[in-house]
Amino acid sequence: MTSVFKIALRNLLRYKRRTALTATLVTLGVIFVLVFTSIAGSFKQMMISQITDSMLGHLQIHRKGYVAAIESLPLNMNMKQAGFDKLEKLLKQEQGVAAYSPRIKFGGMFSNFMETTNIRLNGIDPQKEFATVPLLPDRIISGEKSLKKGEILVPELLARGMNIKVGDTVVIVATNQNGSVNGKQFRISGILESATGPGGRDGYVHFDDAIELLRMEQPEISEVAVRLKKFSALNKVAKSLRQVVEAEKNPMGKPLFELHSWEDLSPFAKVAKMLNLMTVFIKVMLIAIVLVSIMNVMIMAVFERIREIGTIAAIGTPPATICSLFLVEGLCLGLFGAVLGNLIGIIIIGIVNLLHITFSFGQQTGLILKASIAPADILMVSVIVVIVSVLATLQPAIKASKMEPIDALRHV
């Protein structure tokens, strides 16, 4: 086999300019795929992380039918204490769950004693909420990175519009599910950076304050946000959890809960899917580049060496060996392009990271692009290039091996 490689390499070096051009095309294709995959992948990961880790959680569980009416934050669709107890038991049994946080979501009137506006609020247990959405404290751009009873975290746009600052006193007026109105004073403990996506402009109050404001006799939970130990296990855990959660029935035999992943709840899941699709498209482009460039050069190589093929066939070279001589040429071109492309691609990714390129995502600005590429992606791109190179060479190689030596020797 070494001799086949030696002859193949010498034949490639025989037409240096053509070989260099083809290898350059393959190399550029690999670089483009690696850099695009790393940047698009990093952007996607950051986007998902911002959405899931700062507000949404990986999964959410609601009382059946709540999500369909979520825009109106219907208090009559909250789950009762008994239902939440059942749910909590199920969540504790699931191995993949890292943390969960019950929320009471409601709408209210927000007043700074001079102006009044509406606000969407989440009643949360700060400890559970921060464990479930760990980037939430980072969104507190001024004030304490905590939330105590009697305090409120207000979204940045609201604070700016109503000219309020940390330490100010405000009033929240809310209507409970029976229609009675109640009000409560809060101290502004922090201003929240707005985030893109559902819930990104909500305020936060303490869980107990929400119960008090809404005059609940027992806690009634609007939603339970769930954080998984491994985001990569999302589909697996969601499937297993959905089975047990949706198996819980009410006295009428209908499902008690519904489970949604972040993808079901955020429109940005579609953007993530688009990025995945674009990555696939770019890989298809790479396949086309490799296929066309290598097939073209190998067809030319066979045509130019017909007499040589005739000679080696006449002196007894087995057809399989003739085929392998050309296949190895294509393989070497692909390997060279893949190795060089990977090296240059990794260097470019490193340079992109050194440049600290920033980008904006919705309301969030100054997010630093951290391009990275998984070894599995590098391996996959390399394998694609090598396999496609060999496949592109297959037709000319088979043609060479099937040539009649007598006809090939006559070729001028």
Partner: protein, 234 residues
């Protein structure tokens, strides 16, 4: 003992509606160790006959046995294997592989066809390099040596597998007179040294006389056979 036996060998080529009978029933025998020449003008069937003996083509009719093998029974793979072990080829245009050195060109059949071990390969290549007087040019590429030297390398390559038969189609056509004589003498010398049967075609009257058995071809028929000595070599 006959190495090649041809009985009423015919070869018909078809090109669309046109049929050309290149060989029209030829019978002859070639003994082991002989130095045989097929002579005749262009179109007489010399190359066709050598292609048939070299198992590069099959006869349309008749029987052709080479080294006890019926040429008509060989397919693409078995034909290649047979040629690789039993037959050596010398071409008019030398047909050396340009990417390989003189040494590697001679080594090629042992390396790529017979898969011979390196030590044995080296021994045999060096023996033949010495025999054809090209040992000092072993590392040169074909484009760095003369036509006569290329044909010497081709002779060595044809002999490297110890074939029973070496076929040379117009081996001196691209060489000047002195070099042509030198190549023919080298072939004869190799026959003497290794006992290999040499069959060559030519239309050069100055070279014809060097053969020990001369078959005259004309219009696809064997017109005359001359023999100098007993036609075989001991």
């Amino acid at each position: 003992m006959s190495l090649v036996i041809a009985e009423q060998v015919r070869k018909l080529y078809r090109s669309g509606e046109t049929e050309v009978e290149a060989l029209r029933g030829i019978s002859f025998q070639i003994n082991s160790g002989s130095f045989v020449s097929f002579v005749g003008p262009s179109g007489s069937g010399k190359t066709t006959l050598l292609n048939l003996i070299g198992c590069l083509d099959a006869p349309t009719a008749g029987k052709l046995m080479v080294a006890d093998t019926d040429v008509a029974t060989l397919n693409r793979t078995s034909g290649a294997a047979f040629r690789g072990s039993e037959i050596g080829f010398i071409f008019q245009d030398f047909n050396l592989l340009p990417v390989l050195s003189v040494y590697e060109n001679i080594e090629y059949p042992l390396l790529m066809i017979q898969r011979t071990a390196e030590a044995e390969r080296r021994k045999r290549v060096m023996t033949l390099l010495e025999a054809v007087g090209m040992a000092d040019q072993a590392l040169k590429r074909p484009d760095q040596i003369s036509g006569g030297q290329k044909q010497r390398v081709a002779v060595a390559r044809a002999l490297i597998t110890n074939p029973k038969l070496v076929l040379a189609d117009e081996p001196t056509a691209n060489l000047d007179h002195a070099t042509a004589f030198m190549v023919i003498n080298l072939m004869k010398q190799m026959r003497d040294q290794f006992g290999t049967t040499f069959v060559f075609s030519t239309h050069d009257p100055r070279i014809v006389g060097e053969a020990e058995v001369i078959h005259h071809l004309e219009d696809g028929l064997l017109k005359e056979s001359e023999q100098k000595g007993d036609g075989s070599h001991d």
